[in-house]
Symmetry: C2
Subunit: 240 residues, 2 copies
Amino acid sequence: MTRGGTTGRRERLRAETTAEIKRVALELMASSGPDAITLRAIAREMGMTANAIYGYFATRDDLITTLIKDVYTALADAVDAAWEASSEEDPATRIRSWADAFRNWSLANPQGFRLVYGDPVPGYRAPEDGAAPDAARRVCIGLTALAACAWPQAEHLYADSAFDWPDFDPALLDKVRPAFPELPPAAVALALRIWGHLHGLVSLEVYGHMGAQTVSPDKLFHEELTQLVRALTLTPATGG
Amino acid sequence: MTRGGTTGRRERLRAETTAEIKRVALELMASSGPDAITLRAIAREMGMTANAIYGYFATRDDLITTLIKDVYTALADAVDAAWEASSEEDPATRIRSWADAFRNWSLANPQGFRLVYGDPVPGYRAPEDGAAPDAARRVCIGLTALAACAWPQAEHLYADSAFDWPDFDPALLDKVRPAFPELPPAAVALALRIWGHLHGLVSLEVYGHMGAQTVSPDKLFHEELTQLVRALTLTPATGG
DNA sequence: CACAGAAACTATACGGCGTGAAGTTTCTGC
DNA sequence: GCAGAAACTTCACGCCGTATAGTTTCTGTG
C-alpha cells in the first residue's frame, strides 16, 4: 500500500528543491541581472551539479518560462489587488490605482519587468502560446477594465472611431469580450492605446532610456495620468 | 617618403574589412536575431578566425556598440528626414510625419529597434555615456521639436503644470535647451510623455506583445496620432 | 634588390555556458 | 533484504569570448 505520508516525503523534498532552484534563480537575477540566470550558477549556489537541475526542469528555457510565469503572476496579483481595492464609483482614481500599481511593481522589480516584457535571458525563446498566458490574460483583462470603466464618460470622444472587430486578433477578443460583452471595438482600441502609454513610460524608466533623462519620473507619470483622465473627460481626482 | 596612394591601400583594405564585419554582423542579426551576433559566427562567414576580428574591434562589446551607433544613426536620419520634408506650418502633419517615420523604420528594422532600445545581445553592456550618444541626442532633439512646434497651440493645456527645470536631468537639458531656448519645463515633460506613447506602442508592436493582439496595429497607431493632435488642440490634418 | 618592422592573421588554451549519455549513490515499497 | 526508481555526479561535446604566442604577409627604406 502506498501510504500518503511516505510517498509525500519524496514529493515534499522535490517541491522544496524546485522552490529553491527558482528562489536562487530569482536572487541571481535580482543581484546580477537576467544574464546571471545560468544552470551552473544556480547549481553552484546550491552545492549541486548543473545537470541535477535537469531532474526538475527539462531545459534551461523551461526554468525561465516557469520564472516568467511566477513573476508575471505576481504582477497580475499586484494590479488586480489595486483594482479591487479602489472604489468602483470613481473611474479616475481607479485608473490611477491600477497604473500606479503597475508602475510601482515594475520599479520595485525592474529585473522582473525585463524578464516579462523584454528580451530577458540570452538565448531564451518563449513557448508558442507565450510564457505565461494566464497572467497575460489577467493583465489584459485588467487593462480592458480600465477602458470599460471610463467608457460611459469617454464614449462620446470616439464617436467617429473606425474600429471594428476584425481589426483585432481573435485570441485577444476571446479573452476580452466574454469579460466585457457590452464593450465596443473602439473601447478595445482605447485599452490598447492606454497600454501602450503606460508600458511605454514604465519601460523607458525601467530600461534607463529615461531614467538618465528625468530626475523625477514620478512627476512625469503622475502628469501622464492626469492628462489621461482629463482626456477621457473623467472627474479628476484632485479637482473634487 | 610616405606616398598617400601606397599608405592608402592598407587603410582601404582595413576599412573594407571593417565594413564587411559590420555588414555580416547585421546580416546575422537580421536573419537569426541579435543572439546570432558572435565573433565566431562572423569569422566563419568571412572565412577567418574569430581572433582576427580583434584587430578591428577591441572586444565584442565594442563591435556591438559600433553596430548600435550605425543603426541608431540610420533611425535618426529617417526621422530627421521626415521632419525636414514636412511643412513647417502644419504642426499636426509634422508630428504625424515624425511619428510615422519612427514607426515605419522600426517595423522595417525590428532587429535594429531591439538592438537600440532593448536588451540586444546576451551579455552586452553599453559604455557609460550610452552606446550612441550622438544619435540619441538627435532623436531626443527631434522629439523636443515635436513638443516645440505644438507648444504655441497646446500651451494653454498645461497652465497648471508643476514642472520645473530641476525636475530634469541636466544632461537632458544640455541637449535640449540650447536647441529650444524658449521652451518651458512643461513642454519638455510633454516631449517625454509623447516619447513614452510612441515608444510604447511601437515597442509593443515590435516585441509582439501586441503583434499577437491587434490585427491592424496600423489603425491603432493612426488613432493614437489622431488623439494626440486632438489632445494638443492642433488642427487635425483630416479636418481641413 | 634585401630586409627590418609593422600589420594581419592563426594556433592554442582557458574558463564559462547548455546539455546529452552513462555511471553511482540513496531512498522507497514490497 | 532487495529490486527498482529517483537523485545526483562524472565525463564529454560543441558553443561562446578572449588572452597569449607564433606565423605569415605586406610596406617603406636603405
